[in-house]
Symmetry: C2
Subunit: 540 residues, 2 copies
């Protein structure tokens, strides 16, 4: 099987993406993740242009890595400066990585109009810089910026820039579609030509951007034409439309093209690693990302759901666990009765597809969806809704009143909100008050304070995630908001949803669902324990 | 130039996407948008499976459309039922569209294991159904479900399913990569074979899904191999990883491959139309979408910014206005001094790259970014920040105190929150109170009520968008939130940002920025009017 090395540039080219800014600690965490995945090179910064990157490389020197090698990235020497006196190259080598990536210009237009150098001086800059790094004992990857556009404009010159890098000592030349405008046919054709001319002693690489929606296809086309090195970003981050998405490319290479990369067990880490990188970057993960997104194996259309239940191969191109993902059957009005039935059966095991109950639940569901509810992903609220419709729900407390007060200036910057809650449990009233970082936080604290007297197990539960989605943002401050709350205790985690034009009320609804779900779950468990092996009907 | 017809399936296959649910009114609005763009066919629903779609087609019959033709979608007749007695086909023709799309099975595995019919019966189902629709005078597009997987398993049978459709009267056969698992080489090869066998009397189409990140590439490969009909969804919606993104395909076909589609002036409507469709679907638009996203022509890296300013061609593969988009230069710590300088100059025209002011602004900016601020997209807050750093800012009012109260039960479901605001303008105090749909809404109303006495022009301003992003959602209810508020008056629109662990405080900060920006803008305008032609320094 052919083998391809993978260079991840999330920390360098990915950091150019809009809304992305990594701390040194973020970068160290991402290096560890990429190393566990089995990436060959982690291009981790441009020490010459960003002082924060210098600090990162100092810290990174203490990391113990498995397969991954850190690579520093920087430009060729400046016009008219000797390589050994060039500050940029000194910084590049100064951080002490075994591998360096040096980029230079392959497009004559860029040389003349942006660099404002002669074409020969540019060739010397490339050769000198690679030679300087190679003489210092570094493995040199040369990034041929704008190679595909450059070749279109002046093929002979573009090839000479590669020859200059290789003559200088580069062991790998990565052909860059810097502006992302090339088509797969063109990329494949040129990669084949370069591989014929310089391979196999020199590795040919591909570095694609997604401006034409073709970064994955261009990368695969290059590998098909002889490239043995692929650059990109695991979660597809990067300037403009992003760098080539490595999670997609890795899965396609391994599962579709039979090309070896990373390590044998890497593939099953793909989903978790891609998601974790996005989380560290504080970017909302695109759930429709091929292979690794939550939607990638989610089935909603009634017919598809039926077929997938019969045989997954009917609507799945690969088996989700191969890439560390899972199949999901979505609940929605399009989903059809079989999905709802499956849910209703957890609460009412004797229900059938034609039970009036199933129709009742469907109609309630549609009504709630019209109002802005969405139960895809909020299984705990859905289970509670089913219990309410089927009449098996019994409230754990009654709310008499809540009140939140937010004040500025508050005298206490960290606790600017106050909430009072009055509840009743089986005829016993309880009033509590709490201060919080905002009204929702204060309300959460006050409600739990009031309830713990009656339900001590609540002390083991905590909120682990809180998401707000403004539904009709054009209504501005009076808009409807949907709040998702994820909670967990030592055993399970569950998600609930609330909708209102008042963000506090929406949060309250999700909060109450979350607490009730926890209490029902505990009740079931203790009943189970006393009944022997009776199965829980609530835990998702 | 070759010509390709475009079928948009946002309202049918796109509606299968997770989190998407269209009302009849939504669908009518999207049909109008797609027609203005110049799409050839709008596949708008599956009347046999969804009663809501019946209602839609009744309403849609009153639309006056330009180029676009509505198409209804449905399956072949059921096993063992005569076409003329099949309820599904009756519904399909019953909605009265001139064009119908009939889908059937091309993969023997699906016929045997999902449909549970004989291979011959399936061929008869396809032929009968197309013939029934054709006899009723409809133009029939046949969607060959799973064609590429089917051909891999049993090439002869897959081709016979197409022949059955064509024999029945289909004038176009769309080859579907239903599971999204095919590679461009395979798609191109089979499309060429089908086009050779059945073309040019019969149009060959492509219907791709993005499960391997290759839907765009597969669609282009098919067109390159002779397909003259492309199906997809304008904004890439659809089950799992989505259908082929038509906005990308249309731009690639026209700008990269010289293939004609839509109408001559359609391309400049592409960005606005794709965004509007997402807005109606209530889906957060993916801003890194090629060609049409806000990030598609946004430049952040210092070096790129410098080069793009010198010559846009250096880092742009196409000219943004061609697709109705625009270039953006982003402000961030990576963006470098030239971007900041550009901004500072609006307030302090005499500043240079080395002014201490520029360094001061950069350092303040980094501090705010660390705290969670993001000024990309919040130009008005950025301008105010610059004025604060450079000392040209003068507050329009002083806040003495605000207080918000949220209460349940509130007695008035629609106005459950109350806010009081006490402010001072040049020594004069004003207290106001307002009720709102939530604390932020109440606060907005109360503040404006208090200020309008001093600044009557505020009555012309309104909030047009309100967005909340939870930054460290793992801190749950105590998380830091970032609020963006978009405001407009009759002339301009502007965006401001606020960050806090308290959503009310974050909203307050953005709200105050928004009001102050409006007042400064008005002041500048009236000064301009009295000064003659002096240029405004604040309006973005």
């Amino acid at each position: 099987m052919a083998r391809v090395t993978i260079l991840d540039s999330t920390l360098r080219d990915g950091a150019q993406g809009e809304g992305i800014s990594f701390s040194v600690q973020d970068k160290l965490n991402i290096v560890r993740l990429l190393d566990s995945l089995g990436v060959d090179y982690v291009e981790a910064g441009n020490p010459g242009s960003n002082p924060k990157d210098m600090e990162f490389f100092r810290e990174a020197a203490h990391l113990t890595l498995g397969r991954a090698k850190l690579a520093a990235f920087g430009p060729t020497r400046r016009v008219g400066i000797e390589a050994s006196r060039d500050e940029g190259l000194k910084s590049l080598l100064g951080v002490g990585t075994e591998t360096v990536v040096i980029f230079g210009k392959s497009w004559d237009f860029h040389v003349s109009h942006v660099l404002k150098a002669s074409l020969d001086e540019n060739l010397a800059m490339i050769a000198d810089s690679c030679a300087y790094a190679a003489a210092a004992g570094r493995r040199v990857i040369y990034d041929a910026e704008h190679f595909f556009d450059g070749y279109a404009a002046n093929p002979d010159y573009a090839i000479r820039t590669l020859a200059a890098a290789i003559g200088g000592g580069a062991s790998c030349v990565a052909l860059c579609d810097t502006n992302g405008g090339s088509l797969p046919g063109w990329v494949g054709e040129l990669t084949a030509a370069v591989a014929r001319k310089f391979g196999p002693e020199v590795a040919v690489g591909i570095h694609a951007h997604n401006d034409s929606g073709l970064a994955v296809a261009n990368s695969l086309a290059a590998v098909g034409a002889g490239a043995s090195h692929v650059q990109g970003c695991l979660a597809g981050f990067g300037e403009r439309c992003g760098n080539a998405n490595l999670s997609t490319i890795i899965a396609d290479l391994r599962l579709k093209m039979g090309v070896d990369c990373l390590q044998p067990d890497s593939l099953s880490l793909l989903s978790l690693t891609a998601r974790s990188v996005a989380e560290i970057a504080n970017i909302v993960f695109d759930e429709s990302t091929p292979f690794v997104g939550r939607h990638a194996f989610a089935h909603k259309a009634g017919m598809h759901v039926d077929a997938v239940v019969k045989n997954p191969r009917s609507f799945e191109h690969v088996d989700p666990p191969l890439v560390g993902n899972e199949r999901r059957i979505l609940v929605s009005e399009v989903g059809g009765r079989s999905v709802i039935l499956d849910r209703v059966k957890r609460v009412y095991p004797e229900a059938t597809k034609d039970s009036p109950l199933v129709a009742q639940v469907l109609s309630k569901l549609k009504e709630m969806e019209r109002f802005g509810y969405q139960f895809e992903g909020a299984d705990a609220s859905l289970d509670l809704l089913l219990m309410k419709v089927t009449g098996t729900y019994k409230p754990f407390f009654r709310l008499s009143k809540y009140r939140t007060i937010g004040e500025q200036p508050s005298g206490d910057a960290a606790r600017c909100a106050q909430a009072t809650v009055k509840i009743e449990v089986e005829g016993v009233e309880e009033v509590s008050v709490a201060e919080g970082d905002g009204p929702v936080h204060a309300l959460d604290l006050a409600l739990r304070k009031a309830l713990e007297r009656f339900y001590p197990s609540l002390s083991a539960m905590r909120l682990t995630d809180y998401k707000v989605r403004v539904l009709d943002s054009a209504s501005a401050a009076a808009a409807t908001v949907r709040v998702f709350i994820e909670s967990s205790d030592t055993v399970d985690s569950w998600t609930t949803v609330g909708v209102s034009t008042d963000i506090i009320e929406a949060s309250w609804i999700a909060l109450v669902d979350s607490i009730e779900f926890k209490l029902i779950k505990d009740m079931d468990k203790s009943r189970e324990a006393s009944d022997g092996k009776e199965k829980s009907s609530h835990v998702a």
